[in-house]
Amino acid sequence: MKRNDPKFGQLGYSDSEILNHMVKRGASRRQVMGWMMAAGATATAAGTVFGTASEAWANTPKRGGKLIFAGDQHGPNDTLDPALFTSAVDYFRGRMFYGSLTRLTDSLGYEPELAEEVLSNDNATVWTFKLRKGVEWHDGKSFTADDVIYSMNRHMGADSVSNASSLVSMIDAWEKVNDHEVRAVLSSPNADLPIALGTFHFKILQDGTTDFSTAVGTGPYRVKEFKPGVRAVGVPFENYWGEGGYLDELEHYGIGDSVSRLNAFLAGDVDAMANLPPKAIDQVTGTAGRDVWSLKAGAYINIAPRLDMGGNNSSNAHVWKAMQLLQDRERLVRGVLKGQGSLGNDQPINAAYFDYCADLPQRELDPEKAKWHWDQTDIGSTAVPVVAAEVAPGAVEQCLFMQREAQKVGINFDVKKVTTDGYWGAVWLVEPIAVASWNMRPTANIMMTLAFAPSAAWNETRWENEQFEQLLVEVRGVTDPDQRRQMYCDLQTMIHEENGQALPAHRNYVDAVADHVGGLTHVPLNNFGGAEAPVSIYRKDA
């Protein structure tokens, strides 16, 4: 069942979970349709959904054949060191060769992988991982607790070069209990830890690994060839402990140019492509045997003004309020993203997250009100610079649309377009007003901790709110659902009202895949089903 597939937008998080279980346990068409229509769906919609759901479960994977998946940017910085992963190509390759303690599900829960059982104490400050026995490394050695301790310690400490160390910064120490059990001791509660450990960078390495020219992992494929910026080829690992790794060969590389990537996909040279340009969506759906592989996600684009610049605070607030009111959100989602996205509401959490607060009213385009705010400042018709780069579809357009709406009421923005090369180092977090593009994170808490907490390194607007940070830490230990929901609503409201950034649109991950590929995943954290697809994909025609 494609749980994050926008085609089935009428199903909520819990609905799709229930449906999935019903079909998995062999519910009949009548039962499913009855349940869905009781939940308010039309008969046709219910029929379609049942069809897709049962088709997904009826297809048992076939072994054999070869598939080629083409990502976008790759290069000499491609790596097999999980701590240094930076790109979607890295994440996908990591999933081919390595395993992790937990694996994320399509609804952003987790299921055990190398950890057979995950337990915590009552306030989520000590986590115990009982490790799977009988797991073998690609070189024949046995998987033990030492491997986990070694892998996890690479993300710890101030001198860690890990790109994900902030996700585990609340862990004080990893302790080995015995050969098949490890324990993480936390300095503050974190109920979402097993979800964080299911993300890209926490792949488990063999104890003592320092050479990353090849990968010795526990994953379903082992390395046949790996050349940075050229390609990675995996062949099945005969002694893989789990289900998966169905192909005789899985090849993965990047094609940087989006037109070439599309050509290669349409011509059949590759079986799937990442980041389908919105303009090409109709072309792909109109081609027989090719389909869009889209994930409804919480990724977003935004324009962030720095609140610590530009004079007094009350004047600043009028500026950013005007910017938020000048966003033509509808047009951005329909026109630029071709419907593959959803309206942003100036806060990062949307319906793709478990903790989304639906009560927040949608902010809309209102040039008159923006004008009123602008008149409270002394800027007048002086052009305000906004720096933009093509970091994601819509990133530049959001500024241009704002500029156009602003002009109509006598507000001037000077949109400076710069190249994406070096953007994150030289422009982002430096310029007074700049754009950014964010991937979705596994939980609302992780997203807010990374980019909205006053102490966060990536707090783009330099927003300071003590109450926000306290609440953000407190909610991690809350287990009562109602209380948790209320607290997350408060957090989202605070960002919506006070943070200052304009966040006009969330974008889906839009890839394309050939019809003969089965076993697609839909984890909404990245391209190719959250880079989780390598384990389960197979050729239907094998």
Binding site: H74, N77, N163, S165, I255, N263, D421, W424
Partner: protein, 316 residues
């Protein structure tokens, strides 16, 4: 002759050193540094500092330059800043990939275009000459991505033959399989070099044809074909060889558009990726390799010109 060649080699070496200095300074002027680029959006001051120290980016510039040049002389291009892999490893494969395509292109494109150009010189002003001139001038004007797109549209999408991307391994393929595998990039590149080669060989031969000794031969009644092949061509070899060498150097170093278009993992794509990741060491190494390729090819062209033309060996 030997002193001339030694002098050329000396000039070549000076060029290489000068270029090395320009490359080094140029890569240092670029904004941002490798640690920052490597960590991307995920950079925090702490892990950037840790990375910088690991990569030796905290040392003075002249020390970085001298140690780099010395390593280069010894054949060690250093480790990629971005991935910690030896640069020679990164380049070796891709050099081979690029050489495959350029050698195949040269083997097919050069003889064909020279023959076409010389034939045009045999019959200047004829219909054949005018059509060829028109076609080759049009091809010069068409950018590579246009030619490539056109070829992909015609062959891949209309006729269903050839590959829209050329990423797959070339290992274990015979000559004809290789040509089929690389057909579209080779065709695109051949069009690019052909137009220039045709124009230049035609002009070079015609230029010699207007000199007094050819007039003499015509007056003595030597057949036109014999005049061109026996008398004029040898004197025209100098400029033609130079153009061929320049085009070969272009095939190794300048095929960025074609490689990127076909997603082909050659040297040009590597330098694009190097620039994107701010991999200074990689860019420097590639710059030097490109420079050496040019210098060596031009040296060979000069020597060939000396060998074919005694007058160049004994300048007045």
């Amino acid at each position: 002759m030997w002193s001339l060649i030694l002098k050329r080699i000396g000039i070549g070496l000076i060029t290489v050193v000068a270029v090395s200095l320009i490359i080094f300074i140029g890569t240092k002027i670029l904004p941002g540094d490798a640690a920052q680029i490597r960590l991307g959006q995920n950079a925090t001051p702490e892990n950037v500092a840790a990375f910088r120290e690991r990569l030796g980016l905290d040392q003075p510039l002249y020390i970085q330059y001298l140690s780099w040049l010395w390593d280069f002389v010894r054949g060690d291009l250093g480790h990629s800043l971005a991935s910690d892999v030896p640069i020679t490893n990164l380049i070796a494969d891709r050099y081979l990939n690029t050489v495959y395509v350029s050698v195949l292109t040269a083997a097919i494109g050069v003889p064909v275009s020279l023959a076409l150009g010389i034939m045009a010189a045999m019959f200047p002003g004829s219909l054949y000459d005018r059509v060829l001139t028109f076609v080759s001038v049009s091809l010069v004007a068409a950018p590579e991505f246009f030619t490539a797109t056109l070829l992909v549209l015609i062959f891949v999408f209309s006729l269903g033959i050839g590959n829209a991307v050329v990423v797959g391994s070339a290992e274990g393929k015979g000559l004809f399989q290789l040509i089929a595998h690389f057909a579209l990039p080779i065709a695109t590149l051949s069009f690019v070099i052909a137009s220039q080669l045709i124009r230049m060989s035609r002009a070079a031969v015609l230029n010699v044809m207007s000199s007094p000794y050819i007039e003499m031969a015509i007056l003595k009644g030597v057949p036109r074909r014999r005049i061109i092949l026996r008398h004029a061509l040898l004197n025209a070899i100098g400029p033609i060889v130079n153009v061929v060498a320049l085009n070969l150097a272009y095939l190794v170093t300048g095929v960025i558009v074609v490689e990127v278009y076909f997603g082909y993992p050659g040297l040009a794509t590597l330098i694009v990726q190097g620039v994107q990741t701010r991999d200074f060491i990689l860019i420097q190494g590639l710059g030097m390799i490109f420079c050496l390729t040019y210098v060596i090819l031009m040296l060979i062209a000069d020597i060939a010109a000396f060998a074919s033309n005694p007058r160049l060996r004994h300048p007045k």
